[in-house]
Protein backbone atom coordinates (compact mmCIF):
# COMPACT_ATOMS: atom_id res chain seq x y z
CA UNK A 1 0.00 0.00 0.00
CA UNK A 2 2.16 2.00 -1.59
CA UNK A 3 1.81 5.27 -3.35
CA UNK A 4 3.45 7.73 -1.01
CA UNK A 5 5.69 10.61 -1.97
CA UNK A 6 8.28 12.69 -0.04
CA UNK A 7 7.18 16.34 0.08
CA UNK A 8 8.60 19.45 1.75
CA UNK A 9 6.66 21.27 4.45
CA UNK A 10 6.31 24.92 3.47
CA UNK A 11 3.80 26.32 5.88
CA UNK A 12 2.10 25.12 9.05
CA UNK A 13 -1.65 25.77 9.30
CA UNK A 14 -4.14 25.38 12.13
CA UNK A 15 -6.05 22.13 12.80
CA UNK A 16 -2.94 20.01 12.18
CA UNK A 17 -2.72 20.95 8.49
CA UNK A 18 0.25 22.04 6.41
CA UNK A 19 1.05 23.27 2.94
CA UNK A 20 3.63 21.04 1.30
CA UNK A 21 5.51 21.35 -1.93
CA UNK A 22 6.96 19.02 -4.58
CA UNK A 23 8.78 20.60 -7.52
CA UNK A 24 6.68 23.74 -7.36
CA UNK A 25 3.37 21.92 -6.94
CA UNK A 26 1.71 22.73 -3.62
CA UNK A 27 -1.08 21.06 -1.74
CA UNK A 28 -2.61 21.09 1.73
CA UNK A 29 -2.27 17.94 3.82
CA UNK A 30 -2.96 16.69 7.33
CA UNK A 31 -0.27 16.26 9.98
CA UNK A 32 -2.63 14.38 12.31
CA UNK A 33 -0.47 11.25 12.21
CA UNK A 34 2.91 12.86 12.94
CA UNK A 35 4.48 15.09 15.56
CA UNK A 36 7.09 17.87 15.85
CA UNK A 37 7.03 18.88 12.22
CA UNK A 38 8.91 22.07 11.34
CA UNK A 39 8.94 24.14 8.18
CA UNK A 40 11.58 22.70 5.88
CA UNK A 41 11.04 19.10 7.06
CA UNK A 42 10.25 16.45 4.49
CA UNK A 43 7.36 14.08 5.14
CA UNK A 44 6.07 10.95 3.42
CA UNK A 45 2.64 11.83 1.99
CA UNK A 46 -0.09 9.22 1.42
CA UNK A 47 -3.76 9.95 0.62
CA UNK A 48 -3.51 13.45 2.01
CA UNK A 49 -1.74 12.54 5.29
CA UNK A 50 1.87 12.72 6.39
CA UNK A 51 2.84 9.24 7.58
CA UNK A 52 6.32 10.00 8.89
CA UNK A 53 9.17 12.45 8.73
CA UNK A 54 11.88 11.63 6.23
CA UNK A 55 15.36 11.43 7.78
CA UNK A 56 17.74 13.44 5.55
CA UNK A 57 20.86 11.87 7.06
CA UNK A 58 19.61 8.37 6.38
CA UNK A 59 18.69 9.44 2.85
CA UNK A 60 22.27 10.61 2.27
CA UNK A 61 23.65 7.42 3.78
CA UNK A 62 21.46 5.30 1.47
CA UNK A 63 22.60 7.25 -1.59
CA UNK A 64 26.22 6.71 -0.59
CA UNK A 65 25.60 2.97 -0.31
CA UNK A 66 24.34 2.88 -3.89
CA UNK A 67 27.59 4.40 -5.12
CA UNK A 68 29.90 2.06 -3.22
CA UNK A 69 32.09 -0.28 -5.17
CA UNK A 70 32.39 -2.83 -2.42
CA UNK A 71 33.11 -6.44 -3.19
CA UNK A 72 30.36 -8.90 -2.17
Amino acid sequence: MCLAVPVKVEQLLEHDQAIVELSGVKTTISLALVEDIQIGDYVILHVGYALNKLDPEEAEATLKLFALNDTP
Binding site: M1, C2, L3, A4, V5, P6, K8, L22, S23, S30, A32, L33, V34, E35, Y42, I44, H46, V47, G48, Y49, L51, N52, L54, D55, P56, E58, A59, A61, T62, L63, L65, F66, A67, N69, D70, T71, P72
Partner: protein
Protein backbone atom coordinates in the same frame (compact mmCIF):
# COMPACT_ATOMS: atom_id res chain seq x y z
CA UNK B 1 12.22 16.18 -7.21
CA UNK B 2 14.14 15.94 -4.01
CA UNK B 3 14.43 12.49 -2.44
CA UNK B 4 12.94 11.05 -5.62
CA UNK B 5 15.14 11.90 -8.61
CA UNK B 6 18.42 11.01 -6.89
CA UNK B 7 17.01 7.56 -6.23
CA UNK B 8 16.39 7.09 -9.96
CA UNK B 9 19.90 7.77 -11.20
CA UNK B 10 20.75 5.59 -14.22
CA UNK B 11 24.49 5.47 -13.51
CA UNK B 12 24.01 4.32 -9.93
CA UNK B 13 21.60 1.72 -11.29
CA UNK B 14 24.29 0.31 -13.54
CA UNK B 15 26.63 0.14 -10.55
CA UNK B 16 24.09 -1.76 -8.48
CA UNK B 17 23.31 -4.03 -11.40
CA UNK B 18 27.01 -4.92 -11.62
CA UNK B 19 27.19 -5.59 -7.89
CA UNK B 20 24.20 -7.92 -8.08
CA UNK B 21 25.76 -9.81 -10.99
CA UNK B 22 29.00 -10.18 -9.04
CA UNK B 23 27.23 -11.27 -5.88
CA UNK B 24 24.92 -13.81 -7.52
CA UNK B 25 26.34 -17.27 -7.43
CA UNK B 26 26.08 -18.74 -10.93
CA UNK B 27 25.41 -22.18 -9.49
CA UNK B 28 21.99 -21.38 -8.20
CA UNK B 29 18.76 -19.54 -8.78
CA UNK B 30 17.53 -16.68 -6.64
CA UNK B 31 13.74 -16.50 -6.54
CA UNK B 32 12.69 -13.19 -5.05
CA UNK B 33 9.19 -11.90 -4.54
CA UNK B 34 8.09 -8.36 -3.96
CA UNK B 35 4.97 -8.18 -1.83
CA UNK B 36 3.87 -4.67 -2.62
CA UNK B 37 2.10 -3.48 -5.75
CA UNK B 38 4.11 -0.29 -5.70
CA UNK B 39 7.30 -2.33 -5.92
CA UNK B 40 5.87 -4.33 -8.84
CA UNK B 41 5.02 -1.07 -10.54
CA UNK B 42 8.55 0.29 -10.15
CA UNK B 43 10.15 -2.97 -11.25
CA UNK B 44 8.29 -2.93 -14.51
CA UNK B 45 8.31 0.79 -15.08
CA UNK B 46 12.10 0.91 -15.00
CA UNK B 47 12.63 -2.42 -16.73
CA UNK B 48 14.50 -3.77 -13.70
CA UNK B 49 14.31 -7.45 -14.80
CA UNK B 50 16.56 -6.46 -17.73
CA UNK B 51 19.21 -5.34 -15.24
CA UNK B 52 19.34 -8.60 -13.32
CA UNK B 53 21.37 -11.68 -14.19
CA UNK B 54 19.27 -14.53 -15.58
CA UNK B 55 19.48 -16.54 -12.35
CA UNK B 56 17.91 -13.77 -10.27
CA UNK B 57 14.18 -14.07 -10.92
CA UNK B 58 11.45 -11.78 -9.72
CA UNK B 59 8.13 -13.33 -8.73
CA UNK B 60 5.27 -10.95 -8.14
CA UNK B 61 3.18 -11.00 -5.00
CA UNK B 62 -0.43 -10.10 -4.26
CA UNK B 63 -0.07 -6.65 -5.70
CA UNK B 64 -2.28 -4.61 -3.54
CA UNK B 65 -5.37 -4.55 -1.34
CA UNK B 66 -7.48 -3.99 -4.45
CA UNK B 67 -6.48 -7.35 -5.86
CA UNK B 68 -7.07 -9.36 -2.72
CA UNK B 69 -10.53 -8.01 -1.99
CA UNK B 70 -13.14 -10.68 -2.76
CA UNK B 71 -15.76 -9.83 -5.36
CA UNK B 72 -18.51 -10.07 -2.77
CA UNK B 73 -17.06 -7.05 -0.95
CA UNK B 74 -17.16 -5.08 -4.19
CA UNK B 75 -20.73 -6.28 -4.72
CA UNK B 76 -21.49 -5.00 -1.23
CA UNK B 77 -19.98 -1.60 -2.04
CA UNK B 78 -22.08 -1.45 -5.20
CA UNK B 79 -25.18 -2.42 -3.23
CA UNK B 80 -24.45 0.39 -0.78
CA UNK B 81 -23.88 2.85 -3.63
CA UNK B 82 -27.24 2.02 -5.18
CA UNK B 83 -29.11 2.84 -1.98
CA UNK B 84 -31.28 5.93 -2.21
CA UNK B 85 -29.98 9.17 -0.80
CA UNK B 86 -26.46 7.79 -0.62
CA UNK B 87 -23.06 9.05 -1.71
CA UNK B 88 -20.43 6.31 -2.01
CA UNK B 89 -16.87 7.64 -1.81
CA UNK B 90 -14.04 5.55 -3.18
CA UNK B 91 -10.38 5.77 -4.12
CA UNK B 92 -9.77 5.70 -7.87
CA UNK B 93 -8.25 2.21 -7.73
CA UNK B 94 -11.59 0.57 -6.87
CA UNK B 95 -13.85 2.25 -9.40
CA UNK B 96 -13.35 -0.11 -12.33
CA UNK B 97 -12.85 -3.35 -10.41
CA UNK B 98 -15.57 -5.75 -11.50
CA UNK B 99 -17.74 -7.52 -8.98
CA UNK B 100 -19.92 -10.45 -10.00
CA UNK B 101 -21.99 -9.99 -13.16
CA UNK B 102 -19.43 -7.54 -14.50
CA UNK B 103 -20.83 -4.68 -12.40
CA UNK B 104 -18.47 -2.09 -11.00
CA UNK B 105 -18.77 1.14 -9.07
CA UNK B 106 -18.36 3.14 -12.27
CA UNK B 107 -21.10 1.13 -13.94
CA UNK B 108 -23.29 1.71 -10.89
CA UNK B 109 -22.60 5.41 -11.36
CA UNK B 110 -23.82 5.22 -14.92
CA UNK B 111 -27.00 3.67 -13.54
CA UNK B 112 -27.60 6.66 -11.32
CA UNK B 113 -25.62 5.86 -8.16
CA UNK B 114 -23.81 8.85 -6.67
CA UNK B 115 -20.27 7.46 -6.69
CA UNK B 116 -17.52 9.96 -6.00
CA UNK B 117 -13.81 9.48 -6.49
CA UNK B 118 -11.85 10.82 -3.56
CA UNK B 119 -8.13 11.37 -3.07
CA UNK B 120 -8.16 11.35 0.70
CA UNK B 121 -10.49 10.18 3.49
CA UNK B 122 -10.64 13.85 4.49
CA UNK B 123 -12.68 14.43 1.30
CA UNK B 124 -15.40 12.13 2.69
CA UNK B 125 -15.61 14.15 5.86
CA UNK B 126 -16.07 17.31 3.85
CA UNK B 127 -18.72 15.74 1.62
CA UNK B 128 -20.62 14.54 4.68
CA UNK B 129 -20.54 18.05 6.15
CA UNK B 130 -21.58 19.63 2.85
CA UNK B 131 -24.48 17.21 2.28
CA UNK B 132 -26.21 16.69 5.63
CA UNK B 133 -29.26 15.21 3.93
CA UNK B 134 -27.30 12.33 2.40
CA UNK B 135 -25.71 9.23 3.83
CA UNK B 136 -22.04 9.35 2.93
CA UNK B 137 -20.34 5.95 2.88
CA UNK B 138 -16.57 5.65 2.58
CA UNK B 139 -15.35 2.48 0.86
CA UNK B 140 -12.22 2.12 2.96
CA UNK B 141 -9.62 -0.27 1.55
CA UNK B 142 -5.92 -0.68 2.14
CA UNK B 143 -3.20 -2.18 4.24
CA UNK B 144 -1.67 -0.49 7.27
CA UNK B 145 -0.45 2.46 5.21
CA UNK B 146 -3.99 3.56 4.44
CA UNK B 147 -5.70 2.56 7.68
CA UNK B 148 -4.46 5.39 9.96
CA UNK B 149 -6.04 8.10 7.75
CA UNK B 150 -9.37 6.26 8.08
CA UNK B 151 -8.87 6.26 11.86
CA UNK B 152 -8.29 10.02 11.75
CA UNK B 153 -11.61 10.71 10.06
CA UNK B 154 -13.42 8.39 12.46
CA UNK B 155 -12.01 10.49 15.30
CA UNK B 156 -12.96 13.72 13.56
CA UNK B 157 -16.46 12.43 12.77
CA UNK B 158 -16.93 11.68 16.47
CA UNK B 159 -15.64 15.11 17.49
CA UNK B 160 -17.96 16.79 14.99
CA UNK B 161 -20.84 14.51 16.03
CA UNK B 162 -21.48 13.75 12.36
CA UNK B 163 -24.52 11.55 11.91
CA UNK B 164 -24.28 10.92 8.18
CA UNK B 165 -20.78 9.49 7.68
CA UNK B 166 -20.25 5.72 7.54
CA UNK B 167 -17.20 3.60 6.88
CA UNK B 168 -17.39 0.35 4.91
CA UNK B 169 -14.21 -1.09 6.37
CA UNK B 170 -12.10 -3.44 4.25
CA UNK B 171 -8.73 -2.75 5.81
CA UNK B 172 -6.44 -5.75 5.87
CA UNK B 173 -3.15 -6.60 7.57
CA UNK B 174 0.19 -7.28 5.97
CA UNK B 175 1.95 -9.79 8.27
CA UNK B 176 -0.91 -12.33 7.92
CA UNK B 177 -0.87 -11.80 4.14
CA UNK B 178 2.84 -12.54 3.98
CA UNK B 179 2.24 -15.60 6.14
CA UNK B 180 -0.54 -16.64 3.78
CA UNK B 181 1.90 -16.51 0.89
CA UNK B 182 4.68 -18.43 2.63
CA UNK B 183 2.59 -21.02 4.46
CA UNK B 184 1.41 -23.20 1.51
CA UNK B 185 4.98 -23.88 0.42
CA UNK B 186 5.99 -24.71 4.00
CA UNK B 187 3.07 -27.12 4.29
CA UNK B 188 4.11 -28.80 1.08
CA UNK B 189 7.69 -28.85 2.32
CA UNK B 190 8.86 -27.01 -0.75
CA UNK B 191 10.86 -23.83 -0.99
CA UNK B 192 9.30 -21.56 -3.57
CA UNK B 193 10.82 -18.27 -2.53
CA UNK B 194 14.37 -17.52 -1.51
CA UNK B 195 13.84 -13.92 -0.46
CA UNK B 196 11.13 -11.35 0.02
CA UNK B 197 11.17 -7.64 -0.77
CA UNK B 198 9.10 -6.43 2.14
CA UNK B 199 6.55 -3.65 2.11
CA UNK B 200 7.99 -0.16 2.41
CA UNK B 201 5.19 2.21 3.26
CA UNK B 202 3.27 -0.30 5.33
CA UNK B 203 6.43 -0.55 7.41
CA UNK B 204 6.55 3.22 7.85
CA UNK B 205 3.45 2.67 9.99
CA UNK B 206 4.05 -0.81 11.44
CA UNK B 207 7.82 -0.62 11.76
CA UNK B 208 10.07 -3.42 10.57
CA UNK B 209 9.77 -5.40 13.82
CA UNK B 210 6.59 -7.41 12.95
CA UNK B 211 8.44 -9.23 10.19
CA UNK B 212 11.20 -10.70 12.39
CA UNK B 213 9.05 -13.63 13.46
CA UNK B 214 8.03 -14.34 9.84
CA UNK B 215 11.60 -14.37 8.55
CA UNK B 216 12.49 -16.71 11.40
CA UNK B 217 9.55 -19.09 10.96
CA UNK B 218 9.83 -19.47 7.20
CA UNK B 219 13.61 -19.01 7.03
CA UNK B 220 13.30 -16.41 4.31
CA UNK B 221 15.33 -13.19 4.37
CA UNK B 222 13.20 -10.05 4.13
CA UNK B 223 14.38 -6.61 3.01
CA UNK B 224 12.14 -3.66 3.80
CA UNK B 225 12.52 -1.62 0.63
CA UNK B 226 11.93 1.91 -0.56
CA UNK B 227 9.99 2.42 -3.78
CA UNK B 228 12.47 4.05 -6.05
CA UNK B 229 14.29 1.79 -8.52
CA UNK B 230 17.64 2.18 -6.78
CA UNK B 231 16.03 1.14 -3.49
CA UNK B 232 14.73 -2.03 -5.11
CA UNK B 233 18.06 -2.86 -6.74
CA UNK B 234 19.79 -2.34 -3.40
CA UNK B 235 17.22 -4.56 -1.70
CA UNK B 236 17.76 -7.27 -4.29
CA UNK B 237 21.51 -7.07 -3.62
CA UNK B 238 20.97 -7.38 0.13
CA UNK B 239 18.75 -10.42 -0.37
CA UNK B 240 21.24 -12.12 -2.70
CA UNK B 241 23.96 -11.61 -0.09
CA UNK B 242 21.79 -13.01 2.69
CA UNK B 243 20.81 -15.99 0.60
CA UNK B 244 24.49 -16.68 -0.10
CA UNK B 245 25.20 -16.56 3.63
CA UNK B 246 22.17 -18.69 4.47
CA UNK B 247 20.83 -16.01 6.82
CA UNK B 248 17.22 -14.98 7.15
CA UNK B 249 17.08 -11.63 8.85
CA UNK B 250 14.87 -8.62 8.31
CA UNK B 251 16.99 -5.84 6.86
CA UNK B 252 15.75 -2.29 6.59
CA UNK B 253 16.83 -0.70 3.31
CA UNK B 254 14.30 2.14 3.61
CA UNK B 255 16.00 3.69 6.63
CA UNK B 256 15.09 7.24 5.62
CA UNK B 257 11.43 6.48 6.35
CA UNK B 258 11.18 3.21 8.31
CA UNK B 259 12.22 2.46 11.88
CA UNK B 260 11.92 -0.78 13.84
CA UNK B 261 8.95 0.43 15.90
CA UNK B 262 7.16 2.45 13.19
CA UNK B 263 4.73 5.32 13.74
CA UNK B 264 3.43 4.85 17.28
CA UNK B 265 0.93 7.68 17.01
CA UNK B 266 -0.68 6.03 13.97
CA UNK B 267 -0.65 2.60 15.63
CA UNK B 268 -2.32 3.96 18.77
CA UNK B 269 -5.01 5.66 16.74
CA UNK B 270 -5.74 2.48 14.79
CA UNK B 271 -6.07 0.40 17.96
CA UNK B 272 -8.46 2.95 19.42
CA UNK B 273 -11.04 2.56 16.68
CA UNK B 274 -10.43 -0.83 15.11
CA UNK B 275 -10.33 -4.42 16.32
CA UNK B 276 -9.33 -7.67 14.67
CA UNK B 277 -11.87 -9.70 12.72
CA UNK B 278 -11.86 -13.43 13.54
CA UNK B 279 -11.38 -14.23 9.92
CA UNK B 280 -11.55 -12.55 6.54
CA UNK B 281 -11.67 -13.94 3.05
CA UNK B 282 -8.86 -12.89 0.74
CA UNK B 283 -9.26 -13.30 -2.95
CA UNK B 284 -6.70 -15.79 -4.15
CA UNK B 285 -5.44 -16.62 -0.64
CA UNK B 286 -8.62 -17.96 0.87
CA UNK B 287 -9.91 -17.37 4.37
CA UNK B 288 -7.27 -16.26 6.86
CA UNK B 289 -7.73 -15.77 10.61
CA UNK B 290 -6.97 -12.46 12.30
CA UNK B 291 -5.97 -10.90 8.99
CA UNK B 292 -8.34 -7.93 8.79
CA UNK B 293 -9.91 -5.31 11.01
CA UNK B 294 -13.34 -3.88 11.67
CA UNK B 295 -14.65 -0.87 13.51
CA UNK B 296 -15.04 -1.43 17.27
CA UNK B 297 -18.63 -2.00 18.48
CA UNK B 298 -18.52 1.23 20.50
CA UNK B 299 -18.50 3.12 17.22
CA UNK B 300 -21.03 0.99 15.39
CA UNK B 301 -23.03 4.02 14.34
CA UNK B 302 -20.16 4.75 11.95
CA UNK B 303 -19.91 1.18 10.67
CA UNK B 304 -21.67 0.71 7.32
CA UNK B 305 -21.74 -3.07 7.80
CA UNK B 306 -23.73 -2.70 11.01
CA UNK B 307 -25.97 0.13 9.82
CA UNK B 308 -27.08 -1.08 6.40
CA UNK B 309 -28.34 -4.42 5.11
CA UNK B 310 -25.85 -6.10 2.81
CA UNK B 311 -26.73 -9.24 0.87
CA UNK B 312 -24.42 -12.03 1.97
CA UNK B 313 -22.88 -13.88 -0.92
CA UNK B 314 -20.40 -16.65 -1.52
CA UNK B 315 -17.49 -15.83 -3.72
CA UNK B 316 -17.20 -17.60 -7.03
CA UNK B 317 -13.90 -17.25 -8.74
CA UNK B 318 -13.31 -19.10 -12.01
CA UNK B 319 -12.21 -22.67 -11.31
CA UNK B 320 -9.40 -22.52 -13.85
CA UNK B 321 -7.99 -19.38 -12.23
CA UNK B 322 -4.46 -19.93 -10.98
CA UNK B 323 -4.28 -16.84 -8.79
CA UNK B 324 -3.61 -18.81 -5.60
CA UNK B 325 -0.57 -20.39 -7.25
CA UNK B 326 0.60 -17.15 -8.89
CA UNK B 327 0.21 -15.16 -5.67
CA UNK B 328 2.30 -17.64 -3.72
CA UNK B 329 5.00 -17.72 -6.36
CA UNK B 330 4.32 -21.29 -7.42
CA UNK B 331 3.31 -20.44 -10.96
CA UNK B 332 4.06 -17.70 -13.46
CA UNK B 333 1.17 -15.67 -14.92
CA UNK B 334 1.81 -17.26 -18.31
CA UNK B 335 1.30 -20.69 -16.78
CA UNK B 336 -2.36 -19.95 -16.10
CA UNK B 337 -4.60 -21.23 -18.88
CA UNK B 338 -6.82 -18.19 -18.60
CA UNK B 339 -3.99 -15.65 -18.98
CA UNK B 340 -4.74 -13.46 -22.01
CA UNK B 341 -7.40 -15.94 -22.94
CA UNK B 342 -9.78 -14.48 -21.90
CA UNK B 343 -8.34 -12.99 -18.71
CA UNK B 344 -6.98 -9.49 -19.44
CA UNK B 345 -6.93 -6.17 -17.55
CA UNK B 346 -10.15 -5.19 -19.36
CA UNK B 347 -11.77 -8.49 -18.50
CA UNK B 348 -10.11 -9.66 -15.27
CA UNK B 349 -11.18 -13.07 -14.00
CA UNK B 350 -8.99 -13.22 -10.93
CA UNK B 351 -7.30 -11.02 -8.39
CA UNK B 352 -3.90 -10.99 -10.11
CA UNK B 353 -5.34 -9.24 -13.15
CA UNK B 354 -7.67 -6.87 -11.36
CA UNK B 355 -5.41 -3.99 -10.54
CA UNK B 356 -2.51 -2.75 -12.61
CA UNK B 357 -0.02 -4.01 -10.02
CA UNK B 358 -1.37 -7.50 -9.75
CA UNK B 359 1.24 -9.97 -11.01
CA UNK B 360 -0.73 -10.91 -14.11
CA UNK B 361 -1.79 -7.37 -14.95
CA UNK B 362 1.75 -6.04 -14.59
CA UNK B 363 3.05 -8.85 -16.72
CA UNK B 364 0.40 -8.31 -19.35
CA UNK B 365 0.80 -4.55 -19.48
CA UNK B 366 4.54 -4.17 -19.37
CA UNK B 367 6.07 -7.34 -20.69
CA UNK B 368 3.81 -8.49 -23.42
CA UNK B 369 6.67 -8.60 -25.90
CA UNK B 370 8.12 -11.42 -23.78
CA UNK B 371 5.12 -13.62 -23.47
CA UNK B 372 3.76 -13.08 -26.94
CA UNK B 373 6.97 -14.43 -28.47
CA UNK B 374 6.82 -17.42 -26.15
CA UNK B 375 3.15 -17.82 -27.08
CA UNK B 376 4.15 -18.01 -30.72
CA UNK B 377 6.83 -20.58 -29.92
CA UNK B 378 4.51 -22.83 -27.95
CA UNK B 379 1.88 -22.44 -30.62
CA UNK B 380 4.30 -23.67 -33.23
CA UNK B 381 5.17 -26.66 -31.08
CA UNK B 382 1.58 -27.78 -31.15
Amino acid sequence: MKYISEFRDGELAKNLSKKIALAANTNREYRLMEFCGGHTHTIFRYGIPDLLPANVRMLHGPGCPVCVLPMKRIDAAIELALRPNTILCSYGDMLRVPGTEKMSLLKAKSQGADVRMIYSPADCLKIAQDEPGKQVIFFAVGFETTTPPTAVIIEQALQLKLKNLFIFCNHVLTPPAITGILEPAKQANKKVLDGLIGPGHVSVVTGSAPYDVIAEKYQVPITISGFEPLDILQSILLLVKQINQGSYLVENQYTRAVSAEGNMKAQTLMSEYFELRDKFEWRGLGEMPLSAIQIKPAFKHLDAERCFPITQKTSTDNKACECPAVLTGQKKPTECKLFNNPCTPENPLGSCMVSSEGACAAYYTYRRSDFISSDITSHKEH
